[in-house]
């Protein structure tokens, strides 16, 4: 009986275009679009050579140390600056206006002057370079004025000021994986597919309640117990849902090359637990008999999208913001917990937080299952 119901439900699910489209086709297409659109997102904000125009007039020639600094900064295979030398300000202005350079540098009254068209990180770094030159020069002048012996000490090599290449800062790394702005979108997408298990939840409950569908009426008068029916339908729904999410996961991992920290087994476990949550969320949404099928499906989509928005599906980093500002909401948001479990696999070197996420998801599933059971069990109908 159990396996008969199980196999029939699987066949029914596989024939449902709605379920196949939203839990299999849609995530594959959306992840492909993510892949094309976000392929260069991780390169945003990295330090690149800054194009700059320098007015090489008489004033510039007279400020010899500044010229030496600019020369040093524009040398090498990957120079810090890409200097376009211009003979007058008008020429440099034309380059700045056309957006060919990020800044125009000229020397006025012995001081470098920076001209920019807009604010930005490159412009800020350029300003910092100019500031640093002025500060170092002024500081040396003031120290030498106050303490002429020091100048002699430096000139005669009595000081290790110029030879000391001591660094005061060292880089540290928290994880063996590189931080990425893109992976979280895929994780939130997988969370969305898991919650779309709610479609199955709606179908399961409608197939069990006589007042919701003809199948429900037929199943209610069948000789199988309510528990057997519910168990078989849920297990079959979970099988189908897990299969669809797994296809999405394998596609994202092996076709698009998105990493799960080399822990595919744990990633599959997350999909399974996420699917259980999605399934019981659908069961819970399907409880009100007065709601029509379309309304319930709309609710599943709406709730899933709402949860996924705050898990970072549309704007990366929203999940972190919610985690910081409203930790309780972040904790009870199933999509955020699923996405966070994937993030832990990718970025963390231990599984403490990962299993904490899975634990929270299982508690959520248990609560939703419990509430669903209260409404489903021992129901009798005076009239349908």
């Amino acid at each position: 009986m159990f396996w008969n119901l199980y196999s029939k439900y699987i066949l029914r699910s596989l024939r449902s275009k709605e379920i196949i489209i939203w839990t299999l086709l849609f995530p594959i297409l959306l992840s492909t679009l993510f892949f094309f659109a976000f392929s260069s997102l991780d390169n945003e904000g990295i330090l690149k050579t800054i194009p700059v125009a320098v007015v090489e007039d008489d004033a510039y020639e007279q400020e010899i140390p500044f010229g030496m600094m600019m020369e040093a900064l524009s040398e090498g295979e990957e120079p810090f600056l890409e200097v376009a030398s211009v003979s007058n300000e008008k020429e440099g202005d034309a380059l700045l206006k056309d957006g060919k350079v990020d800044g125009l540098i000229k020397v006025s009254d012995g001081n470098p002057v920076l001209c920019v068209k807009k604010d930005g990180m490159n412009q800020t770094i350029l300003k910092n370079v100019m500031d640093r030159y002025i500060r170092t020069r002024d500081m040396l002048v003031s120290v030498v004025e106050k303490n002429p012996e020091a100048a002699t000490k430096v000139m005669t090599g009595g000081s290790d000021l110029w030879t000391d290449s001591r660094s005061f800062i060292k880089d540290i790394f928290f994880s063996s994986s590189k931080p990425s702005s893109t992976v979280t979108y895929y994780y939130a997408l997988l969370a969305m597919v898991c919650l779309y298990g709610g479609f199955h939840g709606v179908t399961v409950i409608e197939s069990l309640q006589a007042n919701m569908s003809p199948q429900g009426a037929r199943n209610t008068v069948s000789p199988g117990s309510r528990g057997t029916l519910f168990g078989a339908f849920c297990l079959a729904a979970l099988t189908c849902q897990f299969l669809c999410v797994s296809v999405g996961l394998f596609y994202i991992r092996f076709v698009l090359g998105i990493s799960f920290g080399g822990q595919l087994g744990y990633a599959l476990l997350t999909c399974l637990v996420g699917s259980v949550v999605g399934l019981f969320m659908g069961c819970l949404i399907s409880m009100p008999a007065k709601w029509k099928g379309g309304m319930k499906i709309g609710m599943v989509v709406g709730v899933s999208m709402f949860c996924c928005f705050f898990a970072g599906l549309m704007i990366g980093g929203v999940n972190y913001l919610v985690q910081e500002k409203a930790p309780l909401f972040a904790m009870i948001n199933p999509a955020a917990r699923i996405a966070d479990a994937f993030y832990c696999l990718y970025y963390y070197d231990n599984h403490v937080r990962y299993f904490r996420n899975l634990g929270i998801l299982l508690v959520m599933a248990a609560v939703m299952f419990g509430i669903s059971m209260v409404f489903v069990r021992r129901k009798e109908y005076e009239s349908i």
Binding site: F36, E44, C115, V116, M121, I125, M139, F168, I172, G317
Partner: protein, 404 residues
């Protein structure tokens, strides 16, 4: 105008679906505009102030306070607890571009000239991280220089002198090439995201209504009615145009009201170009909607096709992600999508430094290409429909919500 009225009646029947789409996605658009779009007017230069966090495990003293003061001059501090988990999360989600850890005993080691170093976590090759790091390096180097050359100065004096020297800045001039205000980030973001909602709502509105006309009994009834088929087609086309234009007007009113201050300070030529470009996009959306309606069969397609077509076009054309961040290969493909030319035009108009014929040439080309796409898509729609009408089996292939 029977057919036109029928279209409106069907739309009225589905009004909850359309309104839900419109309200949800317009709210999301406004949310994104508010979050992402900056409101700078570019009259004076403002330094970028990247977020950073500092964990001081050393004692509070003038040197550590100096480091904190330097960082505060260059960046925006973010409170972070001294735990690896908090630091990992803040770094990964870019809440802090640089995380500095001053180790225990650093100050003592520094004054003794020993090797103990401040630790920094930053994204590999991050420009902001480099900027923050170089500020701290500069400060500590300055203190070292005073220690080396200013023999009579105390540790506090050296730190204070280095700190005060850090406040010196070069002169920065902001060049303005336009007489009026430039296009603000908010307007740019709103207009860049606009085609997504235009496409989504147009395809949904047209698809659902046209599907009803594809029901076999309705088609047979229409074919034997005294109305000329070309009149029916014309009225349906009129409905699509009304939907497209109404959608465009509505979205522009919402956008204008949301960024009213920015729009009011804008040169009228900018306004004309931006509205003209978005209107042409609405024409493209109408053509895309017509073509999509030819392929929509069944209830599932009603929600699947609008979502996939609008998301696909917008992801690949630089609507959700700026075009400069798309790879060259993608950009080559994107040129065959009309939305690419719309997004390119928005960027070009916002970056305009004058209104000479030479500067406007690229924008007019972009508008022309969009119109060309709209005409081509409309022709394909006509050809597909003509071809379909000849197929006898086509009568039985349409399923609508009534049959489901």
């Amino acid at each position: 105008m029977k057919v036109f009225s029928a279209c409106l009646k069907i739309m009225k029947y589905h009004k909850s679906t359309f309104l839900t789409y419109l309200i949800i996605f317009t709210t999301m658009l406004l949310f994104v505009t508010k979050m992402v779009g900056e409101t700078g007017t570019y009259t004076t230069f403002t330094k970028e102030k990247p977020e950073y966090a500092i964990i001081n495990r050393d004692t509070d003293n003038t040197l550590t306070e100096g480091i904190m003061a330097v960082l505060e001059m260059q960046g925006t501090p973010v409170e972070l607890e001294d735990s690896k988990e908090a630091m990992m999360d803040a770094g990964f989600y870019e809440a802090a571009e640089g995380i500095f850890i001053i180790p225990e005993g650093f100050t003592e080691s520094f004054w003794k000239g020993e090797d103990k170093e401040i630790e920094i976590w930053k994204r590999p090759s991050s420009a902001s991280g480099y900027y923050l790091e170089s500020a701290v390096e500069e400060f500590l180097s300055s203190v070292c220089m005073y220690r080396e050359l200013g023999s009579n100065m105390s540790e506090e004096q050296m730190t204070e002198a280095a700190l005060s020297s850090m406040s010196k800045e070069c002169e920065t001039q902001m060049r303005q090439y336009m007489s009026g205000s430039v296009v603000s980030g908010k307007i740019r973001i709103y207009l860049r995201f606009l085609p997504y909602i235009l496409l989504l709502t147009c395809i949904s509105c047209v698809g659902i209504v046209f599907m009803a006309f594809q029901r076999p009994e309705i088609r047979m009834r229409n074919l034997c009615s005294p109305s000329n088929p070309s009149h029916i087609a014309l009225q349906k086309f009129l409905y699509v145009c009304v939907i497209g234009v109404a959608d465009w007007i509505l979205l522009n009113i919402v956008g204008t009201l949301f960024c009213l201050k920015e729009w009011r300070s804008l040169d009228f030529r900018f306004i004309l170009l931006l509205f003209g470009n978005s209107f042409v996009m609405a024409v493209v959306a109408i053509s895309v909607a017509l073509l999509c309606s030819s392929f929509m069969r069944g209830q599932n397609a009603q929600s699947f096709v609008p979502n996939i077509v609008s998301l696909g076009m917008c992801f690949l054309s630089g609507v959700f992600v700026p075009q400069e961040l798309l790879s060259d290969k993608i950009l080559h493909v994107s040129k065959f999508i009309p939305v690419y030319w719309y997004a390119r035009n928005v960027d070009k108009i916002c970056d305009l430094t004058g209104f000479t014929a030479e500067q406007l040439h690229d924008i007019y080309v972009g508008i022309g290409i969009q119109l060309g796409f709209a005409a081509a898509l409309f022709c394909i729609y006509l050809a597909v429909n003509k071809f379909r009408e000849r197929e006898a089996q086509d009568f039985g292939s349409a399923k609508t919500e009534i049959e489901m």
